[in-house]
Subunit: 330 residues, 2 copies
């Protein structure tokens, strides 16, 4: 199994990528990691932080795709970046999966144009895994497609079902449509049509509409939404969780007495932090692409990169792309 | 000042309404409260709970508008409900404001048809006040209009600005458009056009797009969204806050040691709970209606009803409806 890693994507590059790759190589057997980017800079960084690079392959790429760059420039002006090089290598069969913590937009454009979509998939979706105390759920599309058709939403439901079944091991994933009410006629024409399609599709275990209030309760395995709505849900989930956990932290670090209070509940609080930690589940797969492409969070640390590598390995082992193809056949 | 209260709306009716009304009558001077509903049942409930009813007026209405009823039936079949009676009394000038914790949909239909919209307002919006540690912000539309035009969003921005200025006392309310990126070209045609309109409107202090991640940080006074997006934000805010605060509570109530820990930080935790408590700000005003109509939360307790009465009083004192009319003139 060969996994290509964009060593220069994300806020903590290349250090987090190197540390994460080391962890993965040491812990996950049968893995060949290919690091895309400037090899010389990686070697300097590895030396400074005493990270062993043995066993890694390198894919030289002189430039880095920066967050502020226009996504479509990955095709031409910025096709010599580590992200573009990794995607092209994946398309050429030089690896079994590609991971990047860089620009989501560029990764999507690059994956769609270099690696291509699976036949029958109208648009690829970003599938974010969101944590809840009960079970994680997959939210898609979480930002790739601002405007969607009902057919696209039906597609997303299928893609998400296969992922949750194969990679997370949910036998019969429950699919819900993110909406503003549980009744069939809610949410305007788009959701009404999507509701009918999801209900009629025998390959999808559709449980109906889900209101945003119920999402943190872990009441579905796959939450289907257009990319605008999904992105709002994803970012509010992140922003509100981090704000509330920050408030709690503030209460505990106020003075010696509150710090003693914190010590008495530290185990439980660590449990909550772990429960609500996105990076536990790796990154967000780009589903519908004819290859395994994982978007790691921009602020990924070594552990998040490690988890993304493990996730990519599992996607490849479980033949996620092939299973999606089978499920899309009429 | 006469405030009409639907005594039979919400989960805790009529008890919460009676307790809240008593609190308001005792604490807020110069107030005449008019309780809509079955007077006999209110008297029985008041007697059972030793609530004095002196000073209240009654508006007899034999029926209750139930949550599962179709909103439009408030106009005919259910026009003898306490909600309909209250709205009609407001329209006839028998009160200065109306409050209900009943069905949002019916309240909106009834307000629009009985009380009517302000001239120049295309659609009324539900304006929810959301708490953040920094400052509360007004989210509108938070569910009245699933589909919106850019002109409606511009309207909402004006309505929200007047409310925040007059009722909350923000001198120059900062208005942001809820979007999936901060750049001007994000969010499809609707938000692009809305961005241009908001930017060009001299009566609105527009600060640009805001991502959902930034909303809990309290970085705007008015967050403008279509009713679908707003409803998703509102309900996820509620659901995620209550889930996280529930997790924290679970950690503390685990055993005697963790309960001691809780005791040591109890003051700070109460502070967080208060900071994140919606009912502190009253209910959600229906803005754009030619009268003051407040939707209290369905689960309102006495304190929430009291706060909604105080909010209604302030809306009337500050002549919110008249100021909106002035601001809508070309």
């Amino acid at each position: 199994m060969r996994i290509i890693l964009d060593a220069f994507g994300g806020d903590n590059a290349p250090l987090a990528a190197l540390e994460g790759a080391r962890l993965a190589a040491d812990k996950l057997p049968g893995l060949k990691l290919i690091l895309a980017g400037r090899q010389e800079e990686m070697e300097r960084c590895a030396q400074a932080h005493r990270i062993a690079l043995d066993g890694f392959d390198f894919l030289e790429a002189p430039h880095v795709f920066k967050m502020e760059m226009e996504p479509t420039t990955i095709l031409k002006e910025n096709s010599d970046t580590s992200m573009a090089a990794g995607l092209k290598a994946l398309a050429e069969g030089k690896g079994d999966a590609f991971i990047s913590a860089g620009s989501t937009g560029a990764l999507l454009v690059g994956a769609t144009l270099f690696v291509k979509r699976i036949r029958g998939v109208r648009r690829a979706a970003i599938a974010a895994v969101l944590p809840t105390p009960k079970r994680p759920f997959l939210l898609l599309d979480s930002g790739a497609n601002t405007e969607c058709t009902a057919e696209m939403l039906e597609n997303f439901a299928l893609l998400g079902s296969v992922y949750m079944q194969k990679v997370v091991g949910v036998e019969r994933p429950e699919v819900a449509l993110v909406n503003i009410g549980t009744e069939e006629n809610k949410g305007g024409a788009l959701r009404q049509e999507a509701f009918a399609r999801l209900k009629a599709n025998g390959r999808i275990h559709f449980t109906g509409n889900i209101e945003a209030r119920e999402l943190p309760g872990g009441n579905c395995d796959v939450a289907v939404a257009d990319g605008f709505t999904g992105n709002i849900v994803l970012k509010l989930f992140e922003g509100l969780s981090s704000m509330l956990l920050g408030l709690i932290k503030g209460v505990f670090t106020k003075n010696p007495i509150t710090m003693l209070g914190a010590a008495l509940v530290s185990k439980g609080l660590r449990g909550i932090k772990k429960q609500m930690d996105y990076s536990e589940y790796g990154g967000a797969p780009l589903l519908g692409i004819n290859g395994i492409v994982i978007k790691a969070h921009g602020s990924s640390n070594a552990k998040a990169i490690f988890n993304a590598v493990r996730q990519a390995q599992r996607c490849a082992e479980q033949r996620v792309v092939e299973t999606i193809k089978e499920n899309l056949q009429p």
